[in-house]
Amino acid sequence: RLLLRTARHGTAGPGPASPAGAGPAAAVQTRLAGGSATETRPTVRPKNEVEQKQLCAFGEYVAEILPKYIQQVQVTCFNELELLIHPDGIIPVLTFLRDHTNAQFKSLADLTAVDVPSRQYRFEIVYNLLSLRFNSRIRVKTYTDELTPIDSAVSVHKAANWYEREVWDMYGVFFANHPDLRRILTDYGFEGHPFRKDFPLSGYVEVRYDDEVKRVVAEPVELSQEFRKFDLNSPWEAFPAYRAPPEPLKIEAGAKKEDAK
């Protein structure tokens, strides 16, 4: 089902707390009783309602044209439009955004991935596009797991070439129909995908020059201090605004009681 909502990303600071935040601010105002007419909050980004409305309208427009692939549309609190897409629809959606007269997002600014291991499809591929004609940006997000390949965007944007090589090297996401998918940042014989959440910070191997064999050898990493895991969760609730509603208790149909005969 298509869902258009304003997502509040980032800190839960001034946004959702504004009714509550008006508490101490209002208290200050009554104390200063008639001092300044309007309270100013210079450290808080002012809301740009016009831009938000325009982005919402454009998001609805695109969602109406491409209902086959777009699962969700959202506008962040920083006025960034995001389209959440089924992986089959990458090439159609990117081509539409590049070629359509009302879109004209000719520039692929960035192509990255996000690893969220707890999800079924752990990798989230993110495309950032820029329209020079209309001076606006849009973000397109898809999902995949370790083994499912994703269509390469190189046929739509040439800039995707090295970005996709980087995503392959760092996360292990395979891009089908890529002209030359090989490692780009890791060492030649490197095994593993470093940006995954289960890959340790120090890695598994370390290299050193060995004088006997007169070359660089790779050996299992040896840390001088053993790894310590800290539990950094505080006992207090971190994000009261993002409290999930308690799950309703599910009553499952149990086995019928056999009548005593």
Binding site: I65, Q71, Q72, G89, S118, Y121, F134, F239
Partner: protein, 146 residues
């Protein structure tokens, strides 16, 4: 529904419009009459007879759109855009004024955009994006924060 008129200043090609002289028209520079014809954009040559080219392209686009189901949103909006531009091309003969009215950059850029729209329309015929959603995402896929 165009964002161009509403959003922040569209960066026009600097000096491009000023340099253009069109269709054999002469420009007086310091008393000398010279034929200055350049779009100001690398790789984009000045188009002779842009009205004809645009007319052909727009009629081709409309022809491709006829094969799309009438209730598809893509067909509705694209026909709106194309008809609007087609009318402007037919009524306005002066190229400079046509450029200003179309508000899409140089006339050559408008031609390139029409070619893109044509190729997009042909691809849309194969992809059929007006159909309902292919597959719902798993429940927690788009939840953030996790």
């Amino acid at each position: 529904m165009r964002l161009a008129a509403q959003s922040a200043a569209v960066p026009a090609v600097p000096g491009g419009a000023a340099q253009r002289g069109y269709g054999g028209g002469a420009e007086e520079v310091n008393g000398f009459v010279c034929f200055v014809q350049t779009t100001g954009l690398v790789g984009l040559a000045v188009a002779e007879n842009p009205h004809e080219r645009l007319r052909i392209l727009y009629s081709k686009i409309l022809g491709v759109l006829q094969n799309i189901p009438r209730d598809a949103a893509y067909r509705k909006y694209t026909e709106q855009i194309v008809n609007q531009r087609y009318n402007l091309v037919q009524t306005e003969t002066d190229v400079q004024k046509l450029q200003d009215k179309l508000n899409g950059g140089q006339i050559e850029e408008v031609i390139v955009q029409a070619e893109n729209e044509l190729s997009l329309a042909r691809k849309m015929l194969q992809w059929k994006p007006w159909e309902p959603l292919v597959e719902e995402p798993p429940t927690d896929q788009w939840r953030w924060p996790i």
